[in-house]
């Protein structure tokens, strides 16, 4: 595989203030096609990474290439093919979606005629044509978000950065947006961030988990699942009962109840014990949230970018 189809991040470090690093020599290599989802907790460094990759922010050290274009050396060429919806981006309040999209497209160099054709298609696609002539400030939060996604969709940019595109969307709107993104990924590379593994699992071809400025895990959802040593969870539902597992880990939840993550076999053994003692419990395979929790608490060797093989 050539560089042309890759996103390669090499040792990116961002130090906003002396001694406080938001990214710590962050490296990553993924195919620059389909959807890549970056997942991580508040303050993990997702926005910092997106802003550096989309040429809005200078890194303190390190660099990255997207489809062979360097974020620092080939800035102009890169800006021709990227588009970004910032985390706190909003459609300008005193404009209507139609006016806003048309202006954005004209900023990108389209004539107003071309812009109008492109924006109609994209408003249609997102099902927000009925709001096209309402002032943005009067639209609901979710619709405003969709306007921004429509904006980058209409641009025809090959590489699209979306920083938390579904935050604030109701389940139906979120589902609609997911469908749109899945369609869009056929001929685009979408780099998105999210807090939800569920979203990453539904959409992404590859998932990166970032915590404290470092890549903790990288792979498909199935690969991430396999990284988890203990795939089963036994949750003890009565207070005051604790069982020490032979294998696995004991975690105290926020509700005060104990949870044991362990192997399938050990989960079976513990369940029997609990049944015998008449203690209420539940046993499940790990949920996506459990997996996320597991990954960000325990660093998994992040793969070295140049040893990765795709396809």
């Amino acid at each position: 595989m050539t560089n042309m189809e890759q996103l390669t991040v090499k040792g990116l470090t961002k130090e906003y203030e002396k001694g406080k690093r938001a990214l710590k020599s962050f490296s990553l290599a993924v195919p620059a096609k389909g959807i890549f989802a970056l997942i991580g907790r508040n303050g993990a460094g997702k926005t910092t990474l997106i802003r550096i990759l989309s040429t809005q922010l200078s890194p303190t050290s390190g660099t990255a290439q997207i489809s062979g274009l360097d974020i620092l050396k080939d800035t102009d060429a890169l800006r021709e093919i990227i588009a970004c919806v910032p985390q706190e981006g909003r459609a300008v309040g005193w404009l209507t979606p139609r006016q806003f999209l048309s202006s954005y497209l004209m900023w990108r160099g389209f004539t107003s005629k071309e812009a109008n054709l492109l924006l109609e298609k994209s408003l249609d696609e997102l099902g927000i044509k009925k709001y096209a002539d309402t002032l943005n400030r009067l639209l609901s939060g979710g619709t405003k978000r969709k306007v921004l996604v429509g904006m980058v969709m209409a641009s025809g940019a090959k590489v699209i950065f979306l920083d938390e595109p579904t935050t604030g969307l109701d389940p139906i709107s979120r589902d609609e947006l997911w469908r749109t993104l899945v369609k869009l990924k056929k001929d685009h590379f979408i780099f998105l961030t999210t807090h939800y593994l569920e979203e990453a699992e539904k959409l992404a071809d590859k998932i990166g988990v970032v915590e404290d400025g470092k890549l903790m895990a990288l792979g498909t959802m199935a690969e991430l699942r396999r990284k988890v040593k203990y795939p089963y969870s036994v949750k003890i539902l009565s207070d005051h009962t604790v069982i020490k597992p032979r294998r696995g880990e004991l975690i105290k939840g926020v509700d005060g109840h104990y949870q044991i993550v362990t192997t399938e076999k050990e989960a079976g053994r513990i369940s029997k014990q609990l049944i015998n003692r008449g203690v209420k419990f539940s046993m499940n395979p790990l949920t996506l949230d459990d997996i996320f929790y597991y990954i960000v608490r325990k660093p998994i060797e992040a793969e070295n970018y140049d040893q990765q093989e795709y396809y």
Partner: protein
């Protein structure tokens, strides 16, 4: 970028920041026409018309300077409250085309006021063709100066409150301090020295000299030109070098 797309890019800024604002909120038009007239009227009434030509010249300069202040506020607003600058940075438009478009949008915004002031100038300011050219030259230099300063400050400010603080300081230095609407001789000597700290004072002297109501030596006027041009070049250079398009 082809010239066709550069024109589109300029047009985008003008549409967002002037045309659509006026179309969607017509009240904006009233405010832009009224803005330069408050002091013009005050000076006209107080001087019983004697200082009207100077005040008209002053209003023309102030309209240019306010364009820069508005530019700073509008750019900060788009950058900090809507993250439009982030969207625009991650796109083919360059900082300079964006800035040029936004600056022109401020002129478009000020157009209604400029039209009225031009009519008034034609009626009340009696001078030669060279005089009118001088006024236009001063306006152009002050516009460049104010827009460069506005752009520089907007890229440096990271939130609204900081932006207000910048524009508050700038408008005191550029519009409250200097004797733009009346002759500098009206201010007490020690304060004249302070007034000369503001480039607007030098601009005002050139325009006041043109109106013929106050006269300065040719050397003074030459110095005035040199000062406003040099200050403008410095600020423009700073804007080119120090403004943050890609943030650090």
């Amino acid at each position: 970028m082809t010239s066709r797309s550069i024109i589109s890019q300029l047009k985008a800024s003008i549409m967002v920041n002037a045309i659509y604002a006026m179309i969607n909120y017509p009240i904006v038009l009233v405010s832009t026409i009224l803005a330069p007239f408050s002091l013009l009227l005050v000076i006209t009434f107080i001087s019983r018309g004697a200082l009207t030509p100077i005040a008209i010249g002053g209003a023309l300069i102030m309209t240019m300077i306010s364009s820069g202040t508005s530019l700073q506020q509008d750019l900060s607003h788009l950058k900090n409250d809507f993250k439009v600058q982030d969207m625009v940075v991650s796109s083919p438009v360059t900082a300079w085309i964006y800035l040029l478009g936004m600056s022109i949008s401020e002129l478009v915004y000020a157009l209604p006021a400029l039209v009225v002031l031009t009519v008034l100038a034609a009626l009340y300011v009696h001078t030669s063709a060279f005089g009118y050219l001088s006024i236009m030259g001063v306006m152009l230099v002050m516009f460049t100066f104010a827009c460069s300063l506005g752009f520089l400050l907007s890229t440096l400010s990271s939130d609204v409150v900081q932006g207000w603080a910048f524009s508050g300081i700038v408008s005191t230095v550029l519009s409250a301090l200097p004797p733009v609407y009346y002759p500098i001789t009206y201010i007490p000597k020690p304060f004249q020295i302070i007034a000369y700290l503001s480039p607007a004072t030098y601009a005002a002297q050139i325009v006041q000299n043109v109106t013929g109501l106050t006269s300065f030596s040719p050397t003074t006027i030459e110095i005035d030109w040199v000062v406003i041009i040099i200050v403008t070049i410095i600020i423009l250079t700073l804007a080119v070098k120090r403004s943050k398009w890609r943030e650090d």
